[in-house]
Subunit: 189 residues, 2 copies
Amino acid sequence: MKVLKDKILIEGKVLSDTVLKVDSFLNHQIDPAFAMDLGKEVAARFKNQSITKILTVEASGIAVAMATGLALDIPVVFAKKKRAATADPNVFSSTVYSFTKDESVDIYVNSRFLHPSDNVLLVDDFLAQGEALRGMVEIVQQSGASLAGAGIIIEKVFQGGGKALRDAGIRIETLAPIASLAGGKITFC
Amino acid sequence: MKVLKDKILIEGKVLSDTVLKVDSFLNHQIDPAFAMDLGKEVAARFKNQSITKILTVEASGIAVAMATGLALDIPVVFAKKKRAATADPNVFSSTVYSFTKDESVDIYVNSRFLHPSDNVLLVDDFLAQGEALRGMVEIVQQSGASLAGAGIIIEKVFQGGGKALRDAGIRIETLAPIASLAGGKITFC
């Protein structure tokens, strides 16, 4: 998606060979109209797939997931991190390791929101090692729902998470796949 | 906002005299079209106020904040919880106590995203004791930006957070103000 790649080149900051910050429009400050365009593009790549539900994980996936849900006119569920005091005991869950934060967190979805009759599209802002996506796949499997695939805004392809999940048979569509951040230079695939 | 109150009466679950769950459409599963309507209503209450930025806090405020930002055509910033390994040291921050989770968390905003020239509208899904809102007010004050007020979807008025903040001179608009949850019954103001 050219307009996204252009925006990444202009506003993105390469902090290391593995860390790209796009917090000016995607995951700290959000450009709402631009997020809507991203959601429309993800939706377009999965049109006619009879998706019934979007699943993302809090917090930075929510904006693009909501935009995609709006484009497809279906509900959005965001997996929560940890278990809140008010949460039901009846949840689907998975443990996810964050390399950025160097910590493991439990993510969970109340079982009322995913059903065997659902056809789920996963949406997230980033795909790197693939831990969050793997956790969401596990939650979908626990629910008995079908998995239509995943729509990702930025994939750091060189970190291998996408390959492992595609090898496992999961369809992943990425709007901006990045081949390398070496030497501070953003190189798209 | 009648359509919101009706939805709360139909889908809300009163778990105790202080806890109302609306996770089927607001803060776990999201109805995107309905969230857009909520955002439009918040935007309408602050039109002609020259708002330049929306501030919310992750995670459950993001959907309605994005809807409000879209309606006003301005950027949305969400305060993050804790400090991520990739965050800049240069942030505005506040410590917020969550009664629901019985824990304190630091919330922060990168100083690049709030300026003295900004006129900020706070948006959140819930207002109870007012801790999250108070933390956001503190962050706006640190930035030197003007505070236009706060748009809240559901306020549990009986918990007093809104009164304290209004007494401090902050304009708060609530779409569904709740007077009481006593005896499992939802009573609006």
